[in-house]
Symmetry: C2
Subunit: 236 residues, 2 copies
Protein backbone atom coordinates (compact mmCIF):
# COMPACT_ATOMS: atom_id res chain seq x y z
CA UNK A 1 0.00 0.00 0.00
CA UNK A 2 1.27 3.44 -0.89
CA UNK A 3 -0.35 6.39 0.81
CA UNK A 4 2.05 8.97 -0.56
CA UNK A 5 -0.61 10.33 -2.87
CA UNK A 6 -2.78 11.36 0.06
CA UNK A 7 -2.28 14.88 1.25
CA UNK A 8 -3.26 14.29 4.82
CA UNK A 9 -2.94 10.88 6.38
CA UNK A 10 -3.48 11.97 9.95
CA UNK A 11 -6.27 14.36 8.98
CA UNK A 12 -8.49 11.57 7.80
CA UNK A 13 -7.39 9.01 10.32
CA UNK A 14 -10.18 7.61 12.46
CA UNK A 15 -8.01 7.34 15.56
CA UNK A 16 -6.51 10.77 15.18
CA UNK A 17 -7.65 11.81 18.64
CA UNK A 18 -5.93 8.84 20.25
CA UNK A 19 -2.63 9.44 18.51
CA UNK A 20 0.03 12.11 18.15
CA UNK A 21 -2.34 14.62 16.50
CA UNK A 22 -4.65 14.59 19.52
CA UNK A 23 -5.70 18.08 20.46
CA UNK A 24 -4.17 19.78 17.45
CA UNK A 25 -6.03 22.15 15.16
CA UNK A 26 -6.71 21.12 11.57
CA UNK A 27 -3.91 23.37 10.38
CA UNK A 28 -1.50 21.93 12.88
CA UNK A 29 -2.43 18.40 11.85
CA UNK A 30 -1.75 19.33 8.26
CA UNK A 31 1.70 20.59 9.15
CA UNK A 32 2.46 17.49 11.19
CA UNK A 33 1.19 15.36 8.38
CA UNK A 34 3.57 16.82 5.86
CA UNK A 35 6.44 15.54 7.90
CA UNK A 36 5.18 12.04 8.48
CA UNK A 37 6.99 9.40 6.50
CA UNK A 38 5.08 6.79 4.54
CA UNK A 39 3.00 4.26 6.31
CA UNK A 40 4.95 1.11 6.80
CA UNK A 41 3.76 -2.46 7.02
CA UNK A 42 5.07 -4.91 9.62
CA UNK A 43 4.08 -8.52 9.16
CA UNK A 44 3.10 -10.72 12.05
CA UNK A 45 6.18 -11.90 13.87
CA UNK A 46 8.45 -9.25 12.40
CA UNK A 47 10.31 -6.68 14.45
CA UNK A 48 9.79 -2.98 13.95
CA UNK A 49 13.06 -2.44 15.78
CA UNK A 50 15.35 -4.40 18.06
CA UNK A 51 17.33 -3.71 21.18
CA UNK A 52 20.46 -1.80 20.29
CA UNK A 53 19.16 -0.37 17.02
CA UNK A 54 19.98 3.28 16.50
CA UNK A 55 17.03 5.51 17.27
CA UNK A 56 15.81 7.53 14.35
CA UNK A 57 12.04 7.62 14.45
CA UNK A 58 8.97 7.35 16.53
CA UNK A 59 6.21 5.09 15.27
CA UNK A 60 2.49 5.41 15.75
CA UNK A 61 0.60 2.16 15.44
CA UNK A 62 -1.91 2.62 12.63
CA UNK A 63 -3.44 -0.84 12.59
CA UNK A 64 -2.51 -4.07 14.28
CA UNK A 65 -0.92 -5.00 17.56
CA UNK A 66 2.61 -4.96 18.97
CA UNK A 67 4.47 -6.10 22.02
CA UNK A 68 7.64 -4.57 23.43
CA UNK A 69 10.06 -6.60 25.51
CA UNK A 70 13.43 -6.11 27.11
CA UNK A 71 16.01 -8.86 27.32
CA UNK A 72 17.97 -9.62 30.44
CA UNK A 73 21.58 -10.66 29.85
CA UNK A 74 20.89 -14.18 31.05
CA UNK A 75 18.19 -14.71 28.46
CA UNK A 76 15.13 -13.89 30.51
CA UNK A 77 12.76 -11.52 28.76
CA UNK A 78 10.23 -9.14 30.18
CA UNK A 79 7.30 -7.93 28.09
CA UNK A 80 6.94 -4.25 28.95
CA UNK A 81 3.79 -3.45 27.02
CA UNK A 82 1.29 -4.14 24.30
CA UNK A 83 0.52 -1.38 21.81
CA UNK A 84 -2.55 -0.95 19.67
CA UNK A 85 -3.81 1.62 17.17
CA UNK A 86 -2.86 5.16 18.09
CA UNK A 87 -0.20 4.26 20.60
CA UNK A 88 3.38 5.37 20.18
CA UNK A 89 6.40 3.11 19.89
CA UNK A 90 9.97 4.20 20.53
CA UNK A 91 9.59 6.64 23.42
CA UNK A 92 12.13 4.78 25.52
CA UNK A 93 14.83 5.26 22.89
CA UNK A 94 14.86 9.06 23.12
CA UNK A 95 16.87 8.74 26.30
CA UNK A 96 19.95 7.10 24.83
CA UNK A 97 19.41 7.32 21.06
CA UNK A 98 19.28 3.55 21.06
CA UNK A 99 16.30 1.27 21.31
CA UNK A 100 16.33 -0.57 24.60
CA UNK A 101 13.58 -3.03 23.75
CA UNK A 102 12.30 -5.12 20.87
CA UNK A 103 9.03 -4.19 19.21
CA UNK A 104 7.37 -7.16 17.54
CA UNK A 105 4.13 -7.21 15.58
CA UNK A 106 1.68 -9.76 16.99
CA UNK A 107 -0.47 -9.55 13.87
CA UNK A 108 -0.04 -7.99 10.44
CA UNK A 109 0.25 -4.33 11.29
CA UNK A 110 0.99 -0.90 9.92
CA UNK A 111 2.75 2.03 11.53
CA UNK A 112 3.18 5.71 10.73
CA UNK A 113 6.76 6.86 11.07
CA UNK A 114 8.17 10.26 11.90
CA UNK A 115 11.84 10.95 12.34
CA UNK A 116 12.46 12.31 15.79
CA UNK A 117 14.74 15.14 14.61
CA UNK A 118 11.93 16.36 12.41
CA UNK A 119 9.45 15.91 15.19
CA UNK A 120 11.50 18.00 17.59
CA UNK A 121 11.70 20.76 14.99
CA UNK A 122 7.95 20.66 14.67
CA UNK A 123 7.67 20.86 18.41
CA UNK A 124 9.60 24.13 18.27
CA UNK A 125 7.19 25.47 15.66
CA UNK A 126 4.03 24.27 17.39
CA UNK A 127 4.04 24.74 21.14
CA UNK A 128 0.77 22.87 21.24
CA UNK A 129 2.34 19.79 19.66
CA UNK A 130 5.20 19.94 22.12
CA UNK A 131 2.80 20.34 25.01
CA UNK A 132 0.82 17.30 23.90
CA UNK A 133 3.95 15.30 23.41
CA UNK A 134 5.10 16.09 26.94
CA UNK A 135 1.78 14.70 28.07
CA UNK A 136 2.26 11.61 25.94
CA UNK A 137 5.62 10.91 27.56
CA UNK A 138 4.18 11.55 30.99
CA UNK A 139 1.27 9.25 30.28
CA UNK A 140 3.70 6.48 29.48
CA UNK A 141 5.38 7.10 32.84
CA UNK A 142 2.02 6.85 34.57
CA UNK A 143 1.25 3.64 32.72
CA UNK A 144 4.57 2.12 33.69
CA UNK A 145 4.05 3.03 37.31
CA UNK A 146 0.65 1.41 37.15
CA UNK A 147 2.37 -1.77 36.01
CA UNK A 148 4.81 -1.41 38.90
CA UNK A 149 1.84 -1.29 41.27
CA UNK A 150 0.41 -4.36 39.61
CA UNK A 151 3.67 -6.32 39.74
CA UNK A 152 4.65 -5.14 43.17
CA UNK A 153 1.50 -5.55 45.15
CA UNK A 154 -1.18 -7.56 43.39
CA UNK A 155 -1.82 -11.26 43.45
CA UNK A 156 -2.06 -13.30 40.31
CA UNK A 157 -5.84 -13.15 39.95
CA UNK A 158 -5.88 -9.41 40.47
CA UNK A 159 -3.13 -8.96 37.91
CA UNK A 160 -4.94 -10.87 35.24
CA UNK A 161 -8.23 -9.15 36.00
CA UNK A 162 -6.54 -5.75 35.76
CA UNK A 163 -4.92 -6.76 32.52
CA UNK A 164 -8.18 -7.85 30.92
CA UNK A 165 -10.09 -4.80 32.11
CA UNK A 166 -7.37 -2.55 30.77
CA UNK A 167 -7.39 -4.27 27.40
CA UNK A 168 -11.17 -4.04 27.24
CA UNK A 169 -11.09 -0.32 27.98
CA UNK A 170 -8.56 0.32 25.26
CA UNK A 171 -10.54 -1.68 22.72
CA UNK A 172 -13.69 0.16 23.70
CA UNK A 173 -11.97 3.54 23.24
CA UNK A 174 -11.31 2.41 19.68
CA UNK A 175 -14.95 1.69 19.03
CA UNK A 176 -14.39 -2.00 19.21
CA UNK A 177 -16.26 -4.25 21.55
CA UNK A 178 -15.22 -3.82 25.13
CA UNK A 179 -16.31 -7.31 26.04
CA UNK A 180 -15.30 -9.50 23.10
CA UNK A 181 -11.54 -9.60 23.25
CA UNK A 182 -9.26 -11.32 20.82
CA UNK A 183 -5.93 -11.76 22.55
CA UNK A 184 -3.20 -11.39 19.99
CA UNK A 185 -0.49 -12.51 22.36
CA UNK A 186 0.34 -15.94 23.78
CA UNK A 187 -0.20 -16.99 27.38
CA UNK A 188 3.53 -16.72 27.77
CA UNK A 189 3.50 -13.08 26.65
CA UNK A 190 0.74 -12.30 29.10
CA UNK A 191 2.60 -14.11 31.82
CA UNK A 192 5.81 -12.25 31.14
CA UNK A 193 3.98 -8.93 31.22
CA UNK A 194 2.27 -9.80 34.49
CA UNK A 195 5.20 -11.47 36.17
CA UNK A 196 3.56 -14.90 36.04
CA UNK A 197 4.29 -18.20 34.35
CA UNK A 198 2.22 -19.23 31.38
CA UNK A 199 0.71 -22.14 33.30
CA UNK A 200 -0.52 -19.75 35.95
CA UNK A 201 -2.14 -17.52 33.35
CA UNK A 202 -3.85 -20.52 31.81
CA UNK A 203 -5.06 -21.78 35.17
CA UNK A 204 -6.49 -18.43 36.18
CA UNK A 205 -8.27 -18.00 32.88
CA UNK A 206 -9.85 -21.40 33.47
CA UNK A 207 -10.77 -20.37 36.99
CA UNK A 208 -12.39 -17.16 35.75
CA UNK A 209 -14.24 -19.27 33.24
CA UNK A 210 -15.51 -21.57 36.00
CA UNK A 211 -16.59 -18.55 38.01
CA UNK A 212 -18.56 -17.25 35.02
CA UNK A 213 -16.45 -14.11 34.86
CA UNK A 214 -15.24 -14.96 31.39
CA UNK A 215 -15.92 -17.17 28.46
CA UNK A 216 -12.58 -18.41 27.21
CA UNK A 217 -12.00 -20.21 23.94
CA UNK A 218 -8.31 -20.11 23.18
CA UNK A 219 -7.51 -16.52 22.38
CA UNK A 220 -11.13 -15.44 22.22
CA UNK A 221 -12.21 -14.05 25.53
CA UNK A 222 -15.63 -12.65 26.29
CA UNK A 223 -16.03 -10.70 29.49
CA UNK A 224 -19.23 -11.88 31.14
CA UNK A 225 -18.97 -10.05 34.44
CA UNK A 226 -17.07 -6.80 34.18
CA UNK A 227 -18.11 -5.83 37.67
CA UNK A 228 -16.88 -9.09 39.07
CA UNK A 229 -13.49 -8.42 37.54
CA UNK A 230 -13.39 -4.88 38.89
CA UNK A 231 -14.22 -6.20 42.32
CA UNK A 232 -11.20 -8.45 42.14
CA UNK A 233 -8.94 -5.52 41.38
CA UNK A 234 -10.20 -2.99 43.90
CA UNK A 235 -11.54 -4.85 46.86
CA UNK A 236 -9.56 -7.62 48.43
Amino acid sequence: MDFSELKSVCGGCTIRELCLPAGLSDEEVLLLDQHMAHRQVVKKGESLYRTGDAFRSLFAVSTGFFKTSILHEDGRAQVTGFQMAGEILGLDAISTDQHICDAVALEDSAVCEITFDRFEELGQLMSNLQHRFNKTLSREIVRDQGVMLLLGSMRSEERLAAFLVNLAKRFAARKQSGSELVLRMTREDIGSYLGLKLETVSRILSRFHDQHLLEVKGRNVRILDQQGLNKLIEGS
Copy 2:
Protein backbone atom coordinates in the same frame (compact mmCIF):
# COMPACT_ATOMS: atom_id res chain seq x y z
CA MET B 1 17.27 30.23 53.67
CA ASP B 2 16.65 32.78 50.97
CA PHE B 3 18.57 32.41 47.76
CA SER B 4 16.72 35.15 45.92
CA GLU B 5 19.77 37.40 46.13
CA LEU B 6 21.86 35.00 44.10
CA LYS B 7 21.88 35.63 40.39
CA SER B 8 22.45 32.07 39.32
CA VAL B 9 21.50 29.16 41.52
CA CYS B 10 21.87 26.47 38.87
CA GLY B 11 25.05 28.03 37.52
CA GLY B 12 26.94 27.40 40.71
CA CYS B 13 25.24 24.17 41.60
CA THR B 14 27.58 21.25 42.03
CA ILE B 15 25.15 18.74 40.57
CA ARG B 16 24.21 20.93 37.63
CA GLU B 17 25.18 18.24 35.15
CA LEU B 18 22.91 15.69 36.80
CA CYS B 19 19.90 17.96 36.83
CA LEU B 20 17.72 19.93 34.45
CA PRO B 21 20.55 22.19 33.27
CA ALA B 22 22.57 19.20 32.05
CA GLY B 23 24.06 19.88 28.65
CA LEU B 24 23.05 23.53 28.49
CA SER B 25 25.45 26.35 27.71
CA ASP B 26 26.29 28.89 30.41
CA GLU B 27 23.96 31.42 28.80
CA GLU B 28 21.15 28.92 28.62
CA VAL B 29 21.64 28.00 32.26
CA LEU B 30 21.43 31.66 33.15
CA LEU B 31 18.13 32.00 31.31
CA LEU B 32 16.73 28.88 32.94
CA ASP B 33 17.93 30.15 36.28
CA GLN B 34 15.99 33.36 36.03
CA HIS B 35 12.80 31.40 35.91
CA MET B 36 13.47 29.07 38.77
CA ALA B 37 11.48 29.80 41.89
CA HIS B 38 13.13 29.99 45.26
CA ARG B 39 14.63 26.96 46.81
CA GLN B 40 12.20 25.32 49.13
CA VAL B 41 12.83 23.28 52.24
CA VAL B 42 10.95 20.06 52.99
CA LYS B 43 11.43 18.59 56.44
CA LYS B 44 11.82 14.89 57.02
CA GLY B 45 8.43 13.21 56.88
CA GLU B 46 6.71 16.09 55.09
CA SER B 47 5.10 15.79 51.69
CA LEU B 48 6.21 17.88 48.76
CA TYR B 49 2.92 17.03 47.11
CA ARG B 50 0.17 14.48 47.49
CA THR B 51 -1.97 12.38 45.20
CA GLY B 52 -4.68 14.52 43.69
CA ASP B 53 -2.89 17.85 44.16
CA ALA B 54 -3.11 20.14 41.17
CA PHE B 55 0.05 20.09 39.11
CA ARG B 56 1.83 23.41 38.89
CA SER B 57 5.53 22.81 39.09
CA LEU B 58 8.34 20.41 38.58
CA PHE B 59 10.82 20.05 41.41
CA ALA B 60 14.50 19.22 41.24
CA VAL B 61 15.90 17.67 44.38
CA SER B 62 18.67 19.96 45.57
CA THR B 63 19.67 18.15 48.73
CA GLY B 64 18.13 15.28 50.63
CA PHE B 65 16.17 12.25 49.70
CA PHE B 66 12.57 11.55 48.66
CA LYS B 67 10.30 8.64 48.01
CA THR B 68 7.28 8.60 45.72
CA SER B 69 4.43 6.19 46.23
CA ILE B 70 1.04 5.51 44.74
CA LEU B 71 -1.91 4.41 46.80
CA HIS B 72 -4.22 1.64 45.77
CA GLU B 73 -7.88 2.16 46.66
CA ASP B 74 -7.82 -0.67 49.20
CA GLY B 75 -5.01 0.96 51.14
CA ARG B 76 -2.07 -0.88 49.71
CA ALA B 77 0.76 1.42 48.70
CA GLN B 78 3.49 0.94 46.15
CA VAL B 79 6.72 2.90 46.37
CA THR B 80 7.55 3.85 42.79
CA GLY B 81 10.93 5.43 43.32
CA PHE B 82 13.54 7.10 45.47
CA GLN B 83 14.89 10.45 44.35
CA MET B 84 18.16 12.08 45.30
CA ALA B 85 20.00 15.28 44.39
CA GLY B 86 19.52 16.30 40.77
CA GLU B 87 16.55 14.07 40.10
CA ILE B 88 13.22 15.49 39.02
CA LEU B 89 9.93 15.11 40.87
CA GLY B 90 6.52 15.59 39.29
CA LEU B 91 7.03 14.18 35.80
CA ASP B 92 4.06 11.87 36.16
CA ALA B 93 1.70 14.78 36.79
CA ILE B 94 2.20 16.37 33.37
CA SER B 95 -0.10 13.76 31.92
CA THR B 96 -3.26 14.72 33.79
CA ASP B 97 -2.34 18.02 35.48
CA GLN B 98 -2.77 16.21 38.77
CA HIS B 99 -0.20 14.48 40.89
CA ILE B 100 -0.79 10.75 40.89
CA CYS B 101 1.62 9.93 43.68
CA ASP B 102 2.82 11.24 47.03
CA ALA B 103 6.33 12.64 47.32
CA VAL B 104 7.65 12.44 50.86
CA ALA B 105 11.01 13.64 52.15
CA LEU B 106 12.93 10.85 53.89
CA GLU B 107 15.34 13.34 55.41
CA ASP B 108 15.45 17.11 55.69
CA SER B 109 15.63 18.16 52.07
CA ALA B 110 15.53 21.09 49.70
CA VAL B 111 14.10 21.33 46.21
CA CYS B 112 14.29 23.82 43.37
CA GLU B 113 10.91 24.61 41.88
CA ILE B 114 9.97 25.69 38.39
CA THR B 115 6.42 26.18 37.24
CA PHE B 116 5.71 23.93 34.33
CA ASP B 117 4.00 26.63 32.26
CA ARG B 118 7.13 28.70 32.51
CA PHE B 119 9.26 25.70 31.75
CA GLU B 120 7.35 24.91 28.60
CA GLU B 121 7.77 28.50 27.44
CA LEU B 122 11.48 28.17 28.02
CA GLY B 123 11.47 24.97 26.03
CA GLN B 124 10.07 26.93 23.10
CA LEU B 125 12.87 29.46 23.42
CA MET B 126 15.64 26.92 23.90
CA SER B 127 15.37 23.89 21.67
CA ASN B 128 18.30 22.44 23.53
CA LEU B 129 16.45 22.59 26.83
CA GLN B 130 13.43 20.96 25.25
CA HIS B 131 15.61 18.28 23.72
CA ARG B 132 17.21 17.52 27.05
CA PHE B 133 13.86 17.45 28.76
CA ASN B 134 12.54 14.94 26.25
CA LYS B 135 15.51 12.81 27.20
CA THR B 136 14.76 13.26 30.88
CA LEU B 137 11.21 12.03 30.41
CA SER B 138 12.41 9.14 28.30
CA ARG B 139 15.00 8.24 30.90
CA GLU B 140 12.26 7.98 33.48
CA ILE B 141 10.41 5.61 31.16
CA VAL B 142 13.53 3.49 30.83
CA ARG B 143 13.99 3.48 34.58
CA ASP B 144 10.41 2.40 35.15
CA GLN B 145 10.74 -0.39 32.63
CA GLY B 146 13.87 -1.52 34.43
CA VAL B 147 11.82 -1.79 37.58
CA MET B 148 9.21 -3.76 35.64
CA LEU B 149 11.95 -6.20 34.66
CA LEU B 150 13.05 -6.42 38.26
CA LEU B 151 9.55 -6.98 39.61
CA GLY B 152 8.46 -9.26 36.82
CA SER B 153 11.32 -11.64 36.48
CA MET B 154 13.81 -11.47 39.32
CA ARG B 155 13.89 -13.37 42.57
CA SER B 156 14.13 -11.62 45.89
CA GLU B 157 17.91 -11.79 46.25
CA GLU B 158 18.42 -10.48 42.75
CA ARG B 159 16.01 -7.63 43.37
CA LEU B 160 17.74 -6.49 46.50
CA ALA B 161 21.18 -6.82 44.92
CA ALA B 162 20.03 -4.76 41.94
CA PHE B 163 18.56 -2.17 44.25
CA LEU B 164 21.75 -1.78 46.26
CA VAL B 165 23.99 -1.64 43.20
CA ASN B 166 21.74 0.99 41.66
CA LEU B 167 21.79 3.10 44.81
CA ALA B 168 25.56 2.79 45.03
CA LYS B 169 25.97 3.92 41.42
CA ARG B 170 23.82 6.95 41.98
CA PHE B 171 25.67 7.93 45.13
CA ALA B 172 28.97 7.47 43.32
CA ALA B 173 27.80 9.73 40.47
CA ARG B 174 27.28 12.40 43.14
CA LYS B 175 30.83 12.10 44.38
CA GLN B 176 29.72 10.26 47.45
CA SER B 177 31.05 6.90 48.42
CA GLY B 178 29.77 4.15 46.22
CA SER B 179 30.26 1.54 48.90
CA GLU B 180 29.19 3.22 52.16
CA LEU B 181 25.46 3.58 51.83
CA VAL B 182 23.16 5.19 54.33
CA LEU B 183 19.66 3.98 53.59
CA ARG B 184 17.23 6.76 54.28
CA MET B 185 14.18 4.55 53.84
CA THR B 186 12.75 1.84 56.05
CA ARG B 187 12.83 -1.86 55.26
CA GLU B 188 9.16 -1.54 54.50
CA ASP B 189 9.82 1.15 51.89
CA ILE B 190 12.47 -1.01 50.26
CA GLY B 191 10.12 -3.97 50.33
CA SER B 192 7.31 -2.02 48.76
CA TYR B 193 9.58 -0.77 46.02
CA LEU B 194 10.88 -4.27 45.32
CA GLY B 195 7.59 -6.10 45.69
CA LEU B 196 8.71 -7.87 48.86
CA LYS B 197 7.66 -7.88 52.49
CA LEU B 198 9.80 -6.07 55.03
CA GLU B 199 10.72 -9.33 56.74
CA THR B 200 12.03 -10.68 53.47
CA VAL B 201 14.17 -7.59 52.97
CA SER B 202 15.55 -7.94 56.47
CA ARG B 203 16.30 -11.62 56.02
CA ILE B 204 18.10 -11.12 52.73
CA LEU B 205 20.19 -8.30 54.14
CA SER B 206 21.19 -10.65 56.94
CA ARG B 207 21.96 -13.36 54.41
CA PHE B 208 24.12 -10.99 52.35
CA HIS B 209 25.85 -10.07 55.58
CA ASP B 210 26.56 -13.73 56.33
CA GLN B 211 27.89 -14.20 52.82
CA HIS B 212 30.27 -11.28 53.32
CA LEU B 213 28.65 -9.35 50.49
CA LEU B 214 27.63 -6.55 52.83
CA GLU B 215 28.23 -5.16 56.24
CA VAL B 216 24.86 -4.20 57.64
CA LYS B 217 24.30 -2.11 60.75
CA GLY B 218 20.74 -0.89 60.73
CA ARG B 219 20.53 1.62 57.93
CA ASN B 220 24.27 1.76 57.39
CA VAL B 221 25.27 -0.62 54.64
CA ARG B 222 28.77 -1.10 53.34
CA ILE B 223 29.19 -3.02 50.14
CA LEU B 224 32.04 -5.46 50.62
CA ASP B 225 31.77 -7.43 47.40
CA GLN B 226 30.39 -5.39 44.54
CA GLN B 227 31.26 -8.11 42.07
CA GLY B 228 29.44 -10.69 44.12
CA LEU B 229 26.31 -8.56 43.99
CA ASN B 230 26.65 -8.04 40.24
CA LYS B 231 26.98 -11.78 39.79
CA LEU B 232 23.69 -12.25 41.58
CA ILE B 233 21.95 -9.87 39.20
CA GLU B 234 23.36 -11.04 35.90
CA GLY B 235 24.11 -14.68 36.24
CA SER B 236 21.51 -17.01 37.64
